[in-house]
Every structure is written in structure tokens, then in C-alpha cells.
Symmetry: C2
Subunit: 407 residues, 2 copies
């Protein structure tokens, strides 16, 4: 497996386009499209929030009924959530427009929206944007990169990643882009993530691979504990790499899953590190757990603790808050057996041994915690299971963004 430059257009046969449709933002692109030269098998995972945005409901039908998709239309600025029948109608109109112009069945067009909840989409601008983008669809790095920028809301930078992997006698590429900064606490999937691959793989296995992997990637990040109404991750596979089609859980499937995990973990970490107002990516590894589920509950509890997140912002080795967050997580462990370490590019040090603080240097700890990527490792000494969760620090800017911005 080899990481390569690129994102959603890295795999063979995928094109992208983007435009400034004027949905909400001025002076920037705010719509993007992804298109595959041939129909794709499609997998998707979606928010578990009871309040589901219209595009989530639309895409669920594409994934579970059509099982095929050839185009994706995304807009930033308005989420098309809490918009009733009217909002559902706009999803259909969007898909119809794309279908008409590209000769694709409307039920094979995915739509996704992100932004303010409760406002209706300006459907004329959406349709005008589609008319501009379709003739501009292009393969290659630049168009995918521009698309990754166009779907941003409060994100401070675009997020994309791609890898190549040899499987089934061919070089298979997987690439993806995502956006997400606030309202990030995916309970099924991340805010908006689009992954494309030229692998040939059955739709059934594609869905299984994605569903399993989101549990360890997108579902392990949190910026603010708020699970969005729009969380969507879709994975499109067009089979153009020419590999022997994966139809069973063989070695090729394992290699595909490994590469997919690399893509999803990278995108998930990019989102956590770019959490609204964040200055640091905060990684929490729980090791020595009895079960993976236990390790996940403990690690997620720490990355969602406001007090711990504020301490990370202050570069303060406030380990009591970490132990406290583990204690109220609901998972069982013996507080008097816990070892805790802090690590970053500046070094690694043990803070607690058997639940009691060591005589560590606060200065040294602060140095470790001042890096842009910081890790806490908690060993609960009960077994061999581990889990990792990713979050970010809680800063003035998080408050500023969310007190001032109607998102």
C-alpha cells in the first residue's frame, strides 16, 4: 500500500467539478460534483440522529434500493434538514437535473448538503450550478482538490487522501475527501465523506467493508459531542482498475479493507484535528482493555470531556480530568490499576502509575502537550484489547464560531 497525492479523483474513471453557486457564501465555491465514467457499486453509512436531513433520506434509498450510483452533488451553506416535504422535493429535483443532463437514472444520483438547519435550498441556484459543473467535469488532481475546498463550511482547510494497493492482479486506487469541523460526533459516519475507488468488488462486500470500518474511524472522533442531522459517508466503486472482482472475503478483500481503513482513518483524523477552533489533534489510546468495546467507551469518554479538552488547550497535564472522564464513561475498570502516559513529537512520559501520580516534571509535560498532535495512553491492565479515539482541544474560537455563526 502506498499513499499518493490526490483525493476523490485519484481512482480511474472519476471526475469532479465545483462552482460558486451562491447558496450562502460569497466569493468562494460552494458546490461540487463527483462523476464516474461508468456506474458504481455504492455503499453508504448515515447519521443515526432521529432528525435526518432530506439528502440523508434520499441517499439511503440510493444505497439500499438502487445499490448503484454514478454521480454525487454536494452543496455547502444550507443543510436541507428540518425542511419537510419541500426539502425532499429539492433532492429529487437535483437528482433529476443531473440525470437529465448526464443520461443517468435519477435514483443513481447521490445528493449531500451541509450548513444551516431549517432553511430551504435555493433550488434555482442549485440547478444553475449543476449546469455549470457538468461540462466542467474533469479527472486529475486539480478538480478533486477544488471539490474538497468547495464542500467546506467552518473547516479551515480541505481534507483529502489517496492510496494505491496491489490486489487481484491490478493496481487499485482508493481516494476520498471529506468536510467536517463542528457538529462532529458521528454516530454512524462522519459529516460528509466521499470515498471513490476503481476496485472491482461486489456491492454487498463494499457495504460490509464500509460499515465495519466506520466503527473504528469516523465513529471514533468527536469535536463537540453533537451528532449531526446530515452525517453521510459514501463509497463508490467503479471496477475500472481491472482487478479480479472481489466477491468473497479472501486476501484481496483483506487488502482492500486495510487500504480503506487507511483512507477513512486519515480523513477522520483530519476532521478531528480541524475541529472548530481547534489548535491540536487530541488522540486517546486505551490499551490493556478486556474488550474492544470497553476500550472504545473509555477513549471516547476522554476525547468528549470538555474539561479535558480545555486542559489540552492550556497545555496542562491535568490527568485528574482524564481519569474522571474514564470513571463516568460507564465502562468498568479499576482506577487504582491505571497507568497513564502523554506522548507527542516532543517525547513520551508516564504521569500515573497504578492510579497515583508519579513525581513527573510539569514543565516537561507541558512541552509534550504543546505540540499540534498530542496523545494520551491509558493502560487499564485487564487484557489485550485496544481502541483509539480522536478529538481536539476546546478553545475560545470554538465558542466564537458557534456563538456568532448560524450553522
Amino acid at each position: 500500500m502506498k499513499q499518493i497525492k490526490g483525493g476523490v479523483t485519484a481512482a480511474k474513471g472519476f471526475k469532479a467539478a465545483s462552482t460558486a453557486a451562491g447558496i450562502k457564501y460569497q466569493n468562494r465555491q460552494d458546490m461540487a460534483m463527483i462523476y464516474s465514467e461508468v456506474p458504481c457499486d455504492v455503499a453508504g453509512t448515515f447519521t443515526k440522529n432521529l432528525v435526518k436531513a432530506a439528502p440523508v433520506k434520499w441517499d439511503q434509498r440510493v444505497v439500499y434500493e438502487s445499490k448503484k450510483a454514478q454521480a454525487v452533488v454536494v452543496n455547502a451553506g444550507i443543510a436541507n434538514a428540518c425542511t419537510g416535504e419541500e426539502g425532499m422535493g429539492y433532492c429529487k429535483q437535483t437528482a433529476e437535473k443531473v440525470g437529465e443532463l448526464l443520461g443517468v437514472p435519477e435514483e443513481q444520483v447521490l445528493v449531500a448538503s451541509t450548513g444551516v438547519i431549517g432553511k430551504q435550498l435555493p433550488i434555482d441556484r442549485i440547478c444553475a450550478g449543476i449546469e455549470v459543473m457538468i461540462p466542467a467535469l474533469l479527472g486529475g488532481y486539480e478538480s478533486g482538490h477544488a471539490a474538497a475546498k468547495a464542500i467546506m463550511t467552518t473547516d479551515t482547510h480541505e481534507k483529502e487522501v489517496a492510496v494505491e494497493v496491489e490486489l487481484g492482479g491490478a493496481t487499485v486506487t482508493i481516494g476520498g475527501m471529506c468536510k467536517g469541523s463542528g457538529m462532529i460526533h458521528p454516530n454512524m459516519c462522519t459529516m460528509l465523506s466521499f470515498v471513490t475507488t476503481d476496485a472491482a468488488i461486489s456491492q454487498e462486500l463494499l457495504l460490509e467493508a464500509l460499515q465495519a470500518d466506520v466503527e473504528d474511524t469516523y465513529n471514533m472522533i468527536s469535536v463537540d459531542g453533537d451528532t449531526s442531522t446530515n452525517d453521510t459517508c459514501v463509497l463508490l466503486a467503479n471496477g475500472m482498475a481491472g482487478n479480479a472482482k472481489i466477491t468473497e472475503k479472501n486476501e484481496d478483500y483483506a487488502a482492500f479493507c486495510k487500504a480503506l481503513n487507511f483512507i477513512n482513518e486519515s480523513l477522520a483524523k483530519q476532521m478531528a484535528g480541524d475541529g472548530e477552533g481547534a489548535t491540536a489533534l487530541f488522540e486517546v489510546k486505551v490499551i490493556g482493555a478486556e474488550t474492544k468495546e470497553q476500550a472504545k467507551i473509555l477513549s471516547k469518554s476522554v476525547i468528549t470531556s470538555s474539561l479535558t479538552k480545555a486542559a489540552i488547550y492550556g497545555h496542562d497535564a491535568n490527568w485528574g480530568r482524564i481519569l474522571c472522564a474514564m470513571g463516568y464513561s460507564g465502562a468498568s475498570f479499576d482506577p487504582e490499576k491505571v497507568d497513564l502516559f502523554f506522548a507527542s513529537a516532543a517525547g513520551k512520559m508516564q504521569i500515573i502509575k497504578d492510579g497515583v501520580a508519579l513525581d513527573y516534571s510539569e514543565e516537561e509535560a507541558t512541552k509534550i502537550l504543546s505540540e499540534p498532535e498530542v496523545t494520551a495512553i491509558a493502560d487499564v491492565k485487564m487484557g489485550d484489547a485496544t481502541a483509539t479515539a480522536w478529538g481536539c482541544d476546546l478553545t475560545y474560537d470554538y465558542v466564537k464560531i458557534n456563538a456568532d455563526y448560524r450553522s
Copy 2:
């Protein structure tokens, strides 16, 4: 029932004292004592955090084994949590010291601590503080008021309340004080709350009354979602009012419970409104629910949503975030049936009808949301159950306090 001036010394026979013991703070009192002239029946509820502070473990023994208490010693500055055997030893030494000087069995002395986790108590200063306070124990308003100040950490003001109620042929008084500002998300009880009464009531019913009431009061507030290691609420009843002793669930018991609820709800709301950095008390009422449990889950989900809390700080009628938080709460309801209202001293207005926004005035909504106490009312139109939760807004100062302060 009549609200009266006072707190923990309002009921007959209760005295208090406080002192500057130099535990952590300079130039302020940081220790307090409560003492009853006669032994009290005692009830208590404690944190469900797996990481329990030493005084929590000590007090649980007092409540469940001794069932009697006559004195309480509280310190601010150091939590005596994650302090192992040494920390437990300090609880014992504290109780022994009080017992020795007051002629009370050590197992009838409650201890409570709040402050930084992981540091050991300076036991010499604690004992010196006790020596100063015991001769200074005094009934009346001032000593209770001073005690309420002495137990504060990041609280901006003291919190106390008292009522009189006629029952069993006598005037019974209940009064209380509490502290709590950060790390407030009680899962059993609030951070530190001390309620005293001169009612005569069996210890069994006292415990039952308290346990039931904390579910609707302290357990319905949240500042930051972090459940403390030290949450403690104790209720002392010394029987000195001379009422016919309450030994069954009769009218007197109901009247006592009603008065207790007034005290606990008042203290709980005082804590939520004085949340770290808060500028507003944020109350969320869910009405029309099928069950009380469902209404509680929905209302708590909204008051713990960082995005909603930040919007309240910005006086922004960002109702989408409220619906979103209800949606990911785990409780079921039909988003397309929800009515939502905002209310405060400045008025009341409907924002959503049947899940869709009305054409309301943003200006008017902002006016309502600019008051120091703000209420959101969500009607889910499924039944008759209701619940209320209390939180506060999320502000720059919350971040400042917790990034800079080793609490």
C-alpha cells in the same frame, strides 16, 4: 410553605463555622463546618463516577452504616480524589479530630472536599482549621452564609436557600447550601450540597425522599457534561422542630418532600446558573412526552449540547441545534410533530410548529434570549409527561477558566 432568609443554619439546632485554613487559596476562607446540637438521621447520595474521591467513600459508610451524623467538615482547594490509601487515612484523621474535640463518634462525622484531583491534603492545616472552627460554631444567618462562601471554588457567588413548612403540628425548617460550577453533570447528586432540617423523620424515609428528589433536581443539571469524582449531597435531620415524627408516607411526608424539592431545585438551579463562565441559566422543558424518562433524556440532551449552549451565549435562536440534540438523544419522538417555544422575562414566542420553522422575528427572539434566565419549551405531542433540565451557556470564560486553572 414559605421561603425564608438563610441556609444551612436556618433549621433549629444547626450551627456553622468557617476559616481560612490555607489549603490552596490565599486571602479567603476555604474550610467550613456544620454541627447539630443533637445527632441527626442522615441521608446522602453520591457520584456514580467509578473514580470516587476518598471523602465520598467515607461518607457512604456514614450514611449506610452509621445512619447518624452530627458534624460535617468541608474543604475547598483539594478534592482528595485519586489519592489512594493516604487520602482515605486523611478522612479518618479529620473525623477523629472532630470526634475528639466535640465528643462525637468519628463514624458520625461527614467529610467533603472539592478542588484539584490527585493532590494530597495538608492534614496539619485541616486539623488546625478544625481547632479554630469548633469554638467558633454559631447558629444564625451569618455563620451559615460564611460557610456557603468558604466552600466555593470557581463559583462566583455563594448558594443557599431555606423554607419553613407547617407539618405534624410544628413549623419545620429546611435549609441548604451548595457549591458547584465546573465539572457539573451529576449522575447521582450534585458536586457538594448540604441540606439540614429540624424535621423529625425516620432515616429510612429521609433517604427515600432524598434519593427520589435528586433525580428531578441535581441530576437534571449540567454545566459541562463532566461527572465529578466528588459529587455529594447530604441531608441531616435532627428532629428539633418537635413535629410528630414522620414514619410513614402520609400527608406530612408529602409536605416534607415538597419542601425538600423546593430546596434542592433552588440549589440545583443556582449551580447551573453559576456554571463556569456562564452568563445565563438555560432551562429546557420537554412537555407532551409519553414518559417522564423520555422527557428527561430529551431535555438533558439539549442542555448538554455544546452547540446549543454556544448559541444561547450568542442570543441566537438557533432552533436547528435544539432539534438536532433531541434527535441524537436516544429517545424516540417524531421530529415532524415538534412545537418549540422560547421564553424569558422578555416574553414568549413560538419558533417551530410541527417541526418546521414559523415566520418568526429574529429580532424578537434575540430579545427573549438576551435575558439572564432563558427557557426553551419543546412539545413532542405524544402524551402528558414532562421534565425540566437546567444548564447554562458556553462562553469564552468557560474555556479560560479551564485552560488556565488546574481544578
